[in-house]
Amino acid sequence: MNTIDPRIHQALDGELASQAVPAELRRTVAQLAAAADLLAALPPGPAASLESRVMAAIRRPAPSPARRVIRWLVTPRAIVLRVRPAWSVAFAAAVAALTLFTAGDEGPELAEHEGIAQFVGRFPEAQSVHAVGTFNDWRPGSIALKDQDHDGVWRATVVLPAGTYEYMFVVDGERWVPDHLAERLVADDFGRENSIVIVRPARR
């Protein structure tokens, strides 16, 4: 192992004047001093830069909760869903059944010129009640009122083209009765009174 002459150490540390260094060591001292100067003059190296970047990241303020939530929401994540095939078939069947059985409850799609007419009459002893008038060529049978809760009040809600109509109720297929709840009545020229319903367009 090579050892450095202690006088070189002393010369480099400034403890020994350069004139006092023996002539055979002066060249070595000069080369080492030049190398030391070169190292001292180098710009900050990669180690310093890495340290500063790490420290900057540590000092950066923490993101707000909202930002963290947004970042969580937009970050893609893998979701693993384990479903038995039998359950997926059952789910699909339930959706199909719901779609089929609730489709009728939405009611008919109304056109621009159509409206809703409601017929209500109290006929406690009746077996059947029909609304008959100019909306169905005075032909019984097309608009049947129903008494679903058996309280004697018969009802029907129908879609008709907007307009003015005359009508009567036909009870049990033979008794012609005006709608006593209708606010508009007009003589029918056959000795009775017709009720009048004005159907207004539903889409106004």
Partner: protein, 223 residues
């Protein structure tokens, strides 16, 4: 020239075809002995430019109510007279002939509902262009509730002049009747609604439940 010949032939053929379709609608629905008389009344109406559907409906109504043939013919004759009166009212009020069939039907309704002819003329003259059905029914609704016909017509005409849309005129009469139900006198009710014009309470629209439960009428069963 050729076009006129085609049109003349079309008219020549259309009249018997229309008559045939009218007879088709009446057959089996009214006593057969009444059909020729009813049919000829409908032909008169057609030739005079009057709407024929109200006459057909009147005959069908009579048949459905088991009226006798002569009674049905008489009722159709009365309806024909009402349509002629309606046309005359419209012409007197300023409508240029040929008068629109829908307007004749509207005015015939108004006269049947008890509106005096001068009041109808006043409304027609004030509402220069059709449709006037909502205005007529609004006035008739008020008159049916014992409002003075002139005051009722005055309110509806004022509502139109104040910018109330035609389709909302029934809401004007409804608002007045609501005031009466709340205990106001007729004069107070008219004045109160007049003050608020053109603002009106929101019209009652069919609820979601009503629409959901609504059904189109079933096709008519054969007699």
């Amino acid at each position: 020239m050729t076009r006129w010949v085609v049109l003349a032939w079309a008219a020549f053929l259309a009249v018997p075809l229309a008559a045939q379709s009218v007879r088709g609608r009446l057959e089996g629905r009214i006593p057969s002995a009444a059909i020729p008389a009813v049919d000829s009344l409908i032909q008169f109406a057609s030739q005079e430019g009057l709407p024929t559907e109200p006459l057909i409906q009147k005959a069908l109504e009579g048949g459905a109510k088991h009226a006798t043939g002569p009674r049905i013919v008489a009722a159709v004759q009365v309806s024909l007279g009402q349509l002629r009166d309606a046309r005359d009212v419209l012409v007197r009020a300023g409508d240029q002939p040929p008068v629109l069939p829908a307007e004749m039907t509207t005015v015939a309704w108004a006269l049947r509902r008890g509106l005096p002819a001068p009041v109808v003329e006043r409304v027609v003259a004030a509402l220069a262009r059709p449709p006037r059905a909502a205005a007529m029914h609004a006035v008739a609704d008020l008159v049916a509730h014992r409002f003075d016909p002139d005051s009722a017509a005055g309110l509806i005409i004022e509502a139109v002049r104040d910018g109330v849309p035609r389709e909302r005129l029934l809401d004007v009469s409804a608002a007045v009747l609501q005031q009466v139900q709340r205990g106001h006198t007729r004069a107070e009710a008219l004045a109160s609604v007049r003050r608020e014009l053109p603002n009106l309470p929101a019209p009652s629209k069919p609820t979601r439940g009503n629409v959901a439960g609504a059904r189109r009428p079933a096709p008519p069963t054969p007699p």
